[in-house]
């Protein structure tokens, strides 16, 4: 039995259309027109306990809306959601005790006071007993290295440190499910890595199910085995990253530097570009292994330098977006 079951959910938003300028504003004041936007259009998936799933898609694809429905904040227009045998918007109070969430663009900490005060408040909200709370808090302080920042008012913290506290706040009640909506937005490389490592750690240690939305493909690559790609409110792909790579990620750019002249025509060479004494080949690795190709080249010319562009999941996603026209 799946831990999270989502069946055919739909959600439409009613958005007022406002025309520009003063006259336009006046017009829409008296005669307001609405547009209906299908944020989510028939989405179904299921997730097992302890999985980390990357939920990706371009801006406006319906990612945040899905997260909000899963966390019980929004009601779907139709369809059903069941998580750990609870229906989020029906058993709300019972359900939300088991989930934690970080919305990267919002804040759950109290702005003017130190984070530790916010944590103490959460302790009371979730009715955590003293010993349990102390234990969890100390764990989080160790793992996230929070010791020196807990007593500083949140407004004075750097974004990276604040995000650490946000994540700690979402885990203080030991949730079984963690929703992360763009948790690394705006962070520098070091903080990003730290956040990723931490997510991996708590997933492994506490078997927390994590659903992650992000635009940073490195997050996805380092954290998730499985991704769900959505666009225009529909699921376009649901499966492992490696399968996706096999299917779409078969082109490699190999740039060589040489003084010799070379002229090879093979059908696995998709593109060939020459500039100065460099040649850039784009080859199809389904037809020839890179190693074979280099052997072939070195048998014909002397190679001064070589650069093989590693596969890049960003490009892969762009390719996917293009293919699905989203």
């Amino acid at each position: 039995m799946s831990f999270i079951m989502v069946k055919h959910i739909r959600k439409t938003f009613k958005v007022p259309i406002k025309t520009e300028g003063i006259i336009g504003s006046l017009k829409s004041f008296f005669n307001r027109k609405y547009r209906y936007i299908k944020a989510i259009d028939d989405i179904s998936f299921s997730i097992k306990k302890g999985e980390i799933v990357g939920y990706i898609g371009p801006n406006g694809a319906g990612k945040s809306t899905t997260i909000k429905i899963l966390s019980g904040i929004l009601n779907p227009d139709s369809g059903s959601v069941k998580i750990n045998n609870l229906i989020p918007n029906v058993d709300r109070k019972k359900y939300v005790k088991n989930i934690g969430a970080v919305f990267g663009q919002k804040s759950q900490l109290w702005w003017d006071i130190p984070a530790i005060d916010s944590f103490n408040l959460l302790k009371d909200i979730y009715k955590i007993d003293d010993n349990e709370y102390k234990k969890t808090l100390n764990e989080l302080i160790d793992l996230l290295n929070l010791k020196d920042i807990l007593n500083i008012p949140v407004r004075l913290l750097s974004l990276g440190n604040r995000m650490k506290c946000e994540i700690a706040a979402s885990l203080i009640h030991k949730p079984q499910v963690l929703f992360l909506d763009e948790p690394t937005i705006g962070l520098d490389a070091v903080s990003k890595k730290m956040v990723r490592d931490f997510i991996k750690k708590i997933n492994r240690q506490n078997n927390v199910t994590v659903i992650l939305t992000t635009h940073d493909m490195k997050d996805i690559e380092s954290l998730c085995k499985r991704i769900i790609l959505i666009g225009k409110g529909k699921i376009l792909y649901d499966g492992s990253i490696s399968k996706l790579k096999k299917k779409y990620d078969y082109l490699r750019k190999i740039t060589i530097e040489t003084k010799d002249k070379i002229d090879i025509k093979r059908n696995y060479i998709v593109k060939e570009k020459k500039f100065d004494n460099k040649i850039e080949f784009t080859i199809d690795i389904r037809q020839i292994e890179i190693n074979e190709f280099i052997k072939l080249l070195s048998s014909k010319i002397s190679i001064i330098d070589i650069d093989i562009e590693s596969s890049n999941i960003d490009d892969l996603i762009i390719k996917l977006y293009e293919e699905f026209e989203i």
């Binding site: 019980g72 109070k93 969430a101 919305f103 919002k106 759950q108 103490n120 009371d124």
Partner: protein, 267 residues
């Protein structure tokens, strides 16, 4: 219950961390109290026709309203809650295993009590030490003091459910201006904070006697200075309770309605 008290505590801590704001508040309240009273003193000296309140009564009324101002004025929005609605941070509030309405009520009451705690005593002390006729008279019978405290407790609760209602309405309008502002202006005037209710024309007095606003400030202060007879005291205490119930049920029902159609702003 404990968690609602924690909200209250946290708001209290936050409120206390702004010292400059508190000092500015004391000065403002003292300044306004002094200006109002000077106006009334001049008015009473030049006017000898019968007035609805004695001079010492009006002076006491004004000092009480100034010292408790930050608790009872109705032109009040909790900027944190409003921002939460506008920016979508309310998403986090909805994630908590709690009732949003009670959560907001305890936040509002916590913040306002924290403000009044720092301002109340200094203003009272200064007011008592002023020369006649500007000074506050603190000779009051124990029984009336007790009634005054009870009425102030009801008044604080009434204020909380009323102000919370503004914020609940914002859940629908997604903005604190417009309807809510109009509502607040009316509330402010009818509460007697601009001009004490006894000075209203008769028909305005009748209106404000029916509505809840006057029972937040005008009633307890007149009870304190003794400008009200015993019958009226008990009727007014009853009115406070009735309005607390009405506004509470209204606010709670509207919150539940709003949450069914909630839209979280932005991303």
């Amino acid at each position: 219950m404990k968690s609602y008290i924690s909200y209250f505590k946290l708001k209290f801590i936050t409120g206390l961390s702004y010292r400059a704001q508190a000092i500015a508040g004391i000065m403002t309240q003292f300044f306004f109290g002094f200006v109002y009273i000077s106006v009334y003193v001049a008015f009473y000296e030049s006017n000898h026709s019968s007035l609805p309140m004695e001079l010492d009564e009006i002076v006491g009324y004004l000092w009480m309203s100034q010292s408790l101002f930050s608790l009872i004025y109705l032109w009040y929005k909790d900027s944190e809650i409003i921002n939460m609605i506008k920016t979508g941070n309310i998403a986090y509030e909805l994630l908590r295993p709690q009732n949003l309405y009670f959560m907001w009520c305890s936040k509002i009451l916590g913040e306002r009590l924290s403000r009044v705690t720092l301002r109340f005593l200094p203003v009272i002390i200064i007011a008592v030490l002023l020369p006649k006729p500007y000074n506050l008279d603190i000779s009051i019978t124990a029984f009336r003091l007790l009634l005054f405290i009870v009425s102030m407790i009801f008044s604080s609760i009434l204020m909380t459910v009323l102000v919370c209602l503004y914020h609940v309405i914002c859940l629908f309008t997604l903005d604190e201006r417009g309807v809510v502002n109009i509502f607040m202006v009316i509330a402010d005037i009818l509460s007697g904070l601009v001009i004490p209710v006894p000075f209203f024309p008769k028909f305005m007095q009748n209106i404000s006697n029916i509505l809840p606003f006057r029972y937040i400030s005008d009633f307890p202060f007149r009870l304190y200075v003794g400008n009200i007879d015993f019958n009226e005291i008990f009727i007014s205490l009853g009115m406070q309770i009735i309005w607390i119930l009405i506004l509470f049920i209204l606010g709670k029902t509207l919150t539940n309605k709003a949450l069914k159609r909630v839209v979280v702003q932005g991303g």
